[in-house]
Subunit: 450 residues, 4 copies
């Protein structure tokens, strides 16, 4: 149970936004299932690598979250005994909450052909029915202390919506048939493509050059405060000294990245961090993940199948090491997360998100006169130069949910902005995503600073 | 294409047995699908370890075998161009025939969520339709040269029927829910249990003591010759000098094996081969595979779920190392394959095979007066003391099918007799099965010699 | 060749300190060999793990550094052809300078029984003779551009003096005989022990409790500037906003750490970062490296053999994960490197360094009235909460020596203050040492903040 | 203690041969040290791979063998308490005798820089002094029961003489300097080279073609019986049925093998066992171990440094897989161990052994008129087609020495004949050497059969 802190006023905010918690619950849960609609039963089961989870597991785990952190405490609070849907699901679908009890080994998640997909959907429906009953009581004023945790559960499910898409993409990419998840092209999806002519001809063009937006030095505030949901790792809002710098007004595109590749970017040790160069050698990297060369042309695997690489679209599926090497090659660097957040101040959280159905980065728009940063949100998560560490004065949520973020604060780098796989309502300027520097299966790109 | 040798007279033999090749094709193919009937779509996909294959892969690979080694040569022989069902299935479903072309990596077989189960069945039906048309022509006297290869294809599919069962068992056993593949108990299945009282009470009994059947020394013939199908590795029939010895009249039972365990069998290094002792230490072996202790009682995972260990049934799922250590503990040894084959001379090939539906070893029957060996066939494959090596004068089949057996003649031990997962018509006295000495996921047990 | 920046005025500084570069060269090189005096020929050769190097390799690599980065450019500068001591030593003793050419594989360093120890010493003498001749010319005003690189070579050799000691310690600790490198006890070595009664009785005591020194918030300057040598990673001097905090006036002692252990520190997942908890499980950590329990008492391996753990001495050979877990258990945290550096401002760089011959942490002194931090320098490197990242505006040295530090700026944490293995003249307040968070074979401890 | 069986009449035999056990002890022990004479202290310490042991370890282990299996029982037999040279050497220098007690981990043997080489020699001298005293008593008739074990100890030390040479060769070969152990060329060493012109010119020739010696089928006796030492694995002498076959009159030479290589031997999957082909791919094999191509010419690393490959010399350092593939390419096969032993009947045990100082295979002599097999003994161990399994009726030696051979009877293949690293008096026709099929660091070659 989460108490206090950033989520305390959740009820008030909902009312202000005019959307009830119950309606949001329904919408989030339905969106998860909508994303799964094109999956075959077979697609739900397989785990393509230890870092990924089967789609079925995501469906069950997010339900287990509500069952464990909301339904069971609610029953206990009124002195009612609680029987979970299945006595062993707590073991199977707990991800990493040591405080809750023993868990199935993560790399073994793909061994679970049972429960079947149908049984997992039955589990979801069971949890949904109980949750809706509870949400009625909450709307009536009961269980006020659980509202914050319910909000966490919804945010948690949105995170798994993104993971589900990236994990399914990784799985399908292992298949030599390179099967498309969705047969519709997705070309016309995504509001950001207005005015852009898409097609075979269009892909030969290039985005306009990036401009650098100057910022003066000074003590700045970053991090979350006030109303609206945020994870514990975004708090407390605090001061940092930010030196004078400039931030590119658009992400690095595939066209930019091809120039790096053609200039020997993957063969020049001097451009790389030592760990990155070792990854290049050991993993045999010579392009972003999912890129394949066919008769001289670069193709990329997407959830709509193999596509020509679009030079105007932000480059995606690069590791931190690749982002860092590109920046060095370009005579620039990655921004710190403080620089990124300062750069995002005042911008609307709009862009190419999961709802568009495009599910791959869209070509960047042409810069307008106002010189505002383009595509800060959506398309690709942007690697920063900052290690994922606690903010000064950071305190993890109380109780078992304190394991949510804090214990992962080593060995990872911060990414900002959300991607084409992120639900739109999940993105915000203070959001700190984090992955190991070698990770490539997320929709991760970069923006330059200097 | 297989030419000459042991399979040349296949057509003649069929006629003698009164079963047409076409009828046998239908029966074998149907039995494969019958074995799959209890599988969920999810069960078909997952690969539980690199040595195992998904059920779906078995279904497709056996069909690819007919498509590649029968249908395509048949088309070529009459100058007709041949289009396979799918242009990439040759890549996906070739197992290890280097001569046929490149293959999908074996440990990646579980990544293939596509083709779906339904598509694989469509593939089977496509191949079946073509095969039936061809078999009609064969029955009419055409394509006589393909009859031997068709026979190999049927034997090959029978081998995969056994592997399919052992692989599915291994997969389900990884699941903490220990799900049963079949909900019926299987207790009354299998003809060998006549007169045996099964049940909680019955399992407390023990089989009668093994008797040793004496054999005099001499030069003996072993190996296959004459009519009837045999694999190349069973030939040529040849002479071996067999010293005087005695062979136990029944396999080692779970009751025998429990005595070994209770006497510290897994803790006494002096009983083990060096490699075996290392396996005990590194793998943490302390009982046969699939045995679990619950509150002091040993249970065993079967395709019908968890069951009490039956002391009267042959012990199964032990490695060669365990078989060897047990024999040393018992003051005996494993028989050589020549001793085993001499011991099986003249016996009817009868026992607890896959058709019984029992799918686990049955209690051994009480010895009769005639002193004949019991349960030589079915129940469990019996580890021998013989390495899997070519017989003197061995020649692999001609052509690509020469890769079938010969290239695996290193690092493995011979097993004899067939198991509860083997189709009855697939077993014979000269049959040489082979697995690495550490393998435990097959239904492998032992019989003593001295 | 290093040009410009922090080392440009090296000549001037030497003159001010009254020590010529030549005299320092002799002193540093001699100290390396003095540290090796107790080694047997056998001790010089073996590599105990991929992260460690044989003592012989350290001796040769530091000589190669001068040969490659000083002697060869000096010869080239005056148009003289240059022949290295041995044509293959450049391959064998280059560590990681990709720009210099191909290198022997790091994990294979222990395979090199040849050149022998005697040959490596001959190599050193050869380089020394040439360097002394060059240093005479430098003293006379020639080769002014090489002075900075010579200074780097000396600092580099000092780093390897510490690594040599830690690597030899790790090697000897692998030996079940737990051999002492030095037979003298080292008890009376180290100036910091004045007034402390050492011995069996003495070790039962405990250090006085740590006091926390409060610091106000504000923008502070950290990093190196001005005269005196510093590595490129200590620059540029720059501003950071430091929040109000308190820093402990002494390191965490073995006595403190024993309390953590006795309170189940290694068994409570909630105290650990996720990666740390995995290390505890996989590596089986239950005490600092080199600690062994004998009949209930904790002993620790030192370069003087096994010793009783001294509760008053700073705990050493703990990983970042252990330091972080201890801090969480203690209700505190690790300081950032900025906090540490601010805390060290104005302190004399004094402490228990390698020259003392003690080669293990000394008991902390009793706090004085003035409330100054104790043991900030020497004894143990102190893990900070800061990832090893470039300072804002960081620029690597020009040329090949740019590989010295910059390319390691990922996946590591910063440590501060120097240890009992660090040469005294090598320590300074701005020095940024760095190791992966799992590393334990360095003399690494911690100090609390909050 | 060894009792009974093949070694029981050791004393009698010695007398017949006119060499006392004491004199043989001195000779064997001295030969070990003579082989070590060219080693530097550094060469003694390092372990180049888990399968190899440091030279120092061999020196100590062979001494520990006498201390443990002879000196201690001798003391106990007369009621005298026994103190080993060092209380921990039993732990450090026991190889694999589980029955004796716990042992240092094999892959860690290279970590032991202490005891130093000098201390190990002191250990040897200590054991030698005690053994000589005991041997005097034995010569006087006492301790008759220990004579067999002393003989085993001498044979054991001879085995380690060979291993010491092969392990040192492997170690030096890891060094990019490719250092020679012995600076003398060794060209004129070895009695078998009489009449052969050696040199740059001579190496361009080829050996005369192999002739095949026909053998009729029949029941034959193989194995050891009668007087003279033999290991337990050579017994009992027993009958085997050997089919008609032919055995080549000389080993396969480097010239033969080059033809295989030039014909694409390492690129044709159809020539290889499946495990062998995997080794080719994974290990990147393209020539025998120690062969290196320099500007088109094949060189080979020897204990005398890099040498041109001699086409007339037996090929060495090939695995069983390579031997098997070569035989298949040549349209032949490897002989069984029975065929080899039958072929060696009546031949004098003469050839190029370790005493010659050549330490690499010598060119085969030209065939004489009598058609006798050439080079059956010495030069290279010859892989057979036989797995290393117990002979019918095999019984391991009694007591702890029963671990000597029997427990390794799985996963290995038999080699026959001895090599250029084998002491001459250690070879005999019934000797069964054994190594895993992938092993290449022994002096292993082959002879064809068909």
């Amino acid at each position: 149970m989460v108490s206090g802190g950033p989520v305390a006023q959740a009820g008030k905010r909902e009312a202000e936004r005019g959307v009830s918690l119950g309606a949001r619950y329904d919408a989030v849960r339905a969106f998860t299932e909508a994303l799964c609609a094109p999956l075959s039963a077979e697609d739900y089961v397989v785990q393509s690598m230890p870092d990924a989870s089967p789609a079925k597991w995501h469906l069950a785990h997010t339900s287990w979250f509500f069952e464990t952190f909301v339904l069971e405490p609610a029953a206990r609070a009124v002195g009612v005994s609680f029987a979970p849907f299945h006595p062993r699901f707590g073991f199977l679908f707990n991800s990493y909450y040591v405080g809750v009890g023993k868990r199935h080994s993560r790399p073994q998640r793909g061994m679970l052909t049972r429960p079947t997909v149908a049984e997992v959907y039955a589990y979801r429906q069971h949890v949904d029915a109980r949750m809706r009953a509870l949400l009625m009581e909450v709307a009536g004023g009961a269980h006020a202390n659980l509202k914050a945790t319910i909000e966490v559960g919804l945010q948690h499910e949105q995170q798994h919506q993104e993971l589900l898409l990236t994990d399914v993409k990784h799985l399908l990419a292992q298949n030599p048939l390179r099967p498309a998840l969705r047969e519709d092209g997705g070309e016309h999806a995504g509001g950001v493509e207005t005015g852009v002519v898409w097609g075979a001809a269009g892909t030969t063009g290039a985005a306009d050059a990036a401009r650098f937006i100057e910022k003066e030095e000074g003590v700045r505030w970053i991090g979350h405060a006030g109303e609206g949901f945020a994870f514990d790792n975004e708090s407390p809002r605090h001061r940092v000294f930010v030196a004078a710098h400039a931030l590119a007004d658009r992400p690095v595109t595939c066209g930019d990245y091809l120039a790096f590749m053609e200039d020997g970017g993957y063969r020049r040790a001097d451009l790389w961090l030592s760990e990155g160069w070792e990854a290049v050698q050991v993993q045999g990297w010579e392009a972003p993940l999912y890129w394949e060369r066919e008769e001289g042309d670069w193709q990329v695997f997407t959830l709509h199948g193999m596509r020509a690489v679009d030079p105007r679209a932000p480059v995606s599926h690069v590791s931190f090491y690749e982002a860092d090497a590109f920046a060095r090659w370009a005579g620039a660097r990655l921004p710190t997360e403080a620089e990124w957040e300062v750069g995002a101040e005042g911008l609307a959280v709009e862009g190419n998100f999961a709802e568009s159905g495009r599910l791959r980065p869209a070509p960047v728009t042409t810069a307008g006169d106002e010189g505002a940063p383009r595509a800060m949100f959506g398309d690709v998560w942007e690697w920063t130069a900052s290690a994922y560490l606690p903010y000064p004065g950071y305190e993890a949520w109380a109780g078992t949910l304190g394991e949510y973020n804090g214990k992962f604060m080593s060995g990872q780098m911060v990414l900002r902005g959300g991607s084409c796989f992120t639900p739109a309502s999940h993105a915000r300027a203070t959001y700190r995503n984090f992955f190991p520097p070698s990770a490539r299966w997320q929709a991760s790109g970069l923006r330059l600073a200097r």
